[in-house]
């Protein structure tokens, strides 16, 4: 019974933490404003949405999601090139991820 209680408490904590943590660690959603950032040089809204979806799915296969601000705009292309193979990113998908990251950085 005590073990069940431990699991129940842990479950409640998990739900509570998740509700607080969502806004803290999730990368920003794609909005029309974000798509306008840089006058569209980082791609359209559909491309940015695809980039974000790939970023939050593929990158966490191997490591937790890094903050977009943790690397410079010059460093990101090289980093994504290095990891594209492991993340199974095709060239267009690689471009979408990079476009999203650079758009967020520019914002």
């Amino acid at each position: 019974m005590r073990t069940l209680a431990i699991f129940a408490i842990a479950g409640v904590c998990l739900v509570d933490l998740s509700s607080c943590g969502t806004t803290s660690f999730a990368p920003p959603p794609v909005t029309p404003e974000l798509a306008r950032t840089g006058k569209g040089k980082h791609g359209g809204i559909a491309m940015l949405r695809e980039g974000r979806a790939l970023f939050v799915h593929r990158c966490i296969e191997c490591h937790t999601l890094p903050a977009v601000s943790s690397h410079s705009a010059q460093q990101w292309p090289r980093l994504i090139d290095e990891m594209a193979g492991r993340a199974s990113l095709k060239p267009a998908e690689r471009e979408a991820v990079l476009a999203y990251i650079l758009a967020v950085r520019t914002q």
Binding site: G21, A26, P27, V56, H57, E61, T64, S88
Partner: protein, 267 residues
């Protein structure tokens, strides 16, 4: 899912291992040139994480689990599993357990035993980073000479920056024995936390709580609780994760401790 820990699989000579898993293995080898990327790292060995493999990725995972019991039912057992994991889509992955087998040693006998092969399906519903909670559903069918098992699982996960919390609720139905006449049900839940010290190394803790129902009855009130640390290391297209669990309850027929290692490599 979990290699069979009931120590009741069918004893077969090595040569009697079914051909089907090997034919599947040969088929998968033949399509390797078309699919050659990494499936994903595991930070836990007794829990599953909610995220599924990338579309088109293929990974080989080798599991080794050593269990030791020192009570009246003294035994040592080493379980092996060879698993191929393939990402059908970004949200749906299929795994084939080519073979589950084990070596056991107890006062009465010792030897290698083939247990079963299996197919496992996981469908991801929500993402552990951007959604309030990441959820996946899991189904598995295992079949061997003297074993059939159905297993379903709900996988929950949440990522908080470098911290990953995961929870699994599992329901199993097992038919075993020479005529599959012995039935057993099991509900288990597992909880894990893993902290990423660097992009290559994570450390954490896992807790496994089992409710066993022989013949689908609860007269014996069998409850097992295991807890222990884990560590995971990854580099390029491979990873290795190790968990050591100690039994916190006092069930004689269950191991006092068990150590599981999973080595995965992208093909």
């Amino acid at each position: 899912m979990e290699p069979d820990t009931s120590r009741s699989g069918g004893f077969l000579a090595a040569g009697a291992i079914r051909r089907a898993p090997f034919l599947v293995f040969i088929f998968l080898l033949s399509i390797l040139p078309a699919i050659s990327v990494f499936g994903g790292v595991r930070r836990f060995t007794f829990l599953y994480e909610a995220n599924t493999s990338a579309r088109g990725s293929l990974e080989l995972e080798n599991w080794v689990t050593w269990q030791r019991a020192t009570g009246s039912d003294r035994f040592d057992q080493v379980d092996f599993r060879h698993e191929l994991e393939y990402g059908v889509t970004d949200k749906f992955q299929v795994s084939i357990y080519l073979a589950d087998w084990f070596y056991e040693s107890d006062p009465e006998h010792s030897g290698f035993v083939y247990s079963d092969s299996a197919i496992e399906l996981i469908y991801n519903l929500t993402n552990p980073v951007v959604d309030p909670i990441g959820l996946s559903i899991y189904g598995e069918l295992r079949a061997g000479d003297r074993l059939i098992e159905l297993e379903s699982k709900l996988i929950a996960q949440k990522n908080f920056g470098p911290l990953i919390l995961a929870y699994n609720a599992t329901l199993e139905a097992v038919w075993e024995g020479s005529d599959l006449a012995e039935r057993e049900g099991e509900f288990s839940q597992a909880l894990g936390a893993s902290y990423e010290l660097s992009p290559r190394i994570s450390v954490g803790i896992e807790l496994l709580h089992e409710f066993v129902f022989p013949e689908w009855r609860d007269e014996e009130a069998i409850r097992n609780l295991f807890v222990g640390p884990n560590v995971s290391y990854r580099h390029r297209n491979w990873f290795v994760t190790v968990t050591a669990l100690a039994q916190a309850t006092d069930t004689d027929s269950e191991p006092d401790f068990q150590v599981r290692t999973i080595f995965g490599v992208g093909l």
